[in-house]
């Protein structure tokens, strides 16, 4: 391989940072082409069943923080915006956070694994806001 997989993740980071959509690297008999998808925001799919938290970056997924013991488990109550994990691209860490309050129902991606834009990471059951809060929101 021209580049190790770790380096490709970092290369993608450089491309995103510099606004490069596509790049080709040739060396010896090998050629590597990297094309970025359209901007992928950390997405929540709520169409059916539990909500999914998907990766918004390319790198290694960690539950919690790589320097800390993991304290999250199935059933952990999550606050809206709470950081539940990180994606490491080289030395850089980006947060994976809960888009709404809820309960962690499944870990869909083995921590320590490489993830791509849009890889489903965690499933959680959103907490329905209490009726009085819902009313206030509508108002």
């Amino acid at each position: 391989m021209i580049l190790a997989t770790n380096d490709i993740a970092e290369l993608i980071e450089h491309m995103r940072g510099l606004g490069v959509a596509e790049i080709e690297i040739a060396g010896g008999d090998e050629m590597l082409r990297v094309a970025l998808p359209e901007a992928v925001e950390q997405s929540v799919r709520t169409a059916s069943g539990p909500a999914i938290i998907a990766a918004a970056a390319c790198g290694i997924f960690f539950l919690g923080h790589p320097a800390r013991e993991v304290t999250l488990s199935i059933g952990t109550r999550l606050e809206a915006g709470e950081v539940v994990g990180v994606i490491a691209t080289g030395p850089l860490l980006r947060p994976v956070s809960a888009p709404a309050a809820g309960t962690l129902t499944r870990v869909l991606c083995e921590p320590g694994q490489r993830v791509d834009f849009g890889t489903p990471l965690l499933a959680f059951a959103p907490l329905d806001p209490p009726p009085d809060l819902r009313k206030r929101k509508d108002a």
């Binding site: 970092e10 980071e13 450089h14 995103r16 940072g17 510099l18 606004g19 923080h65 790589p66 320097a67 800390r68 013991e69 950081v83 990180v86 490491a88 691209t89 080289g90 030395p91 850089l92 860490l93 980006r94 947060p95």
Partner: protein
Amino acid sequence: MIEILSASALATVQDLGRTGALQWGVGTSGAMDPLALAAGNLLLGNDEGAAAIEVPVFPFELRFTEDCAFALTGADCAARLDGLPLLPWWAHQARAGQTLQLGVPLQGRWRASRAYLCLPGGVDVPQVLGSRSTQLRGAFGGHEGRALRRGDRLRAAATNHKNSASGFGLVPPALALPLQVDGVAAMRVLPAAEYPLFTPEAQQAFWRDEWKITSQSDRYGYRLAGTPLEAKTAIEMRSHGIVPGVIQVPPSGEPIIQLADGNSAGGYPKIGVVIEADLWRIAQAAPGNVLRFVSCTLEEAHAAEREIVSYLLRLRRLADYCRFPVSEQAA
């Protein structure tokens, strides 16, 4: 602006040190963990050497009196902002009135002992002899030449920092650049001038033994406990210039590592010197823990220095992308 709420916690303002003044007997001072200070500054888009607050005693509390971005590096103190947990080695955003609490460092995957709080543009204190570091011995530099205490108010040099985006962090260097021997934190050491004057047993013990960091260890230096190191014959020397990292062996035979606030001169024989690239590892090793010395050549010391430089360069590039999203660059 921030206001210190802790009584007196030996926290000081430090940058990368006051170099070039040893000739006047002025020690370097500066962050004990220069890597944590530099990394925290890079998270905010500051110069690597911008002044920050070094916190060695916990808990430590302060209040933000204005909206302010900040970065926390060094020991993971399970920090909380108005009670909400914060990630370590991370850029955060505080609102006016919020209180930041640093607790006792976590005993997680990496036990460290000093935390760094970086502010946009650095902590705004005057430069003295080319540095903003607190020189405790001479009582100058930093904030009024002393450790911070309750009621002190400090300002960030860049209050309205457009470019600091919070919400991202870094892999701590202890995980990115680990160095252990038999599960014990290790530091690379160059043999120093008087190394050949120690007995072969002492030389072997120096590299082989675990050295316990005694409670007489602080910014001035670390006093280690272990099997005393004996010289072949008594060594008497005139006082001569020394630098942070020098490992002296006083008559007791138990080594002393001179550190950031150490003397600029000393007369004890020197068995070795911890390479500059590993001084941060000592800084984060807490009293009560043990450490090991690993022999290293000058070439290896230079290579270690280059490794640090390229680690920081990589951090700067990647952190800059997070602060300058493409859309804003175009705007």
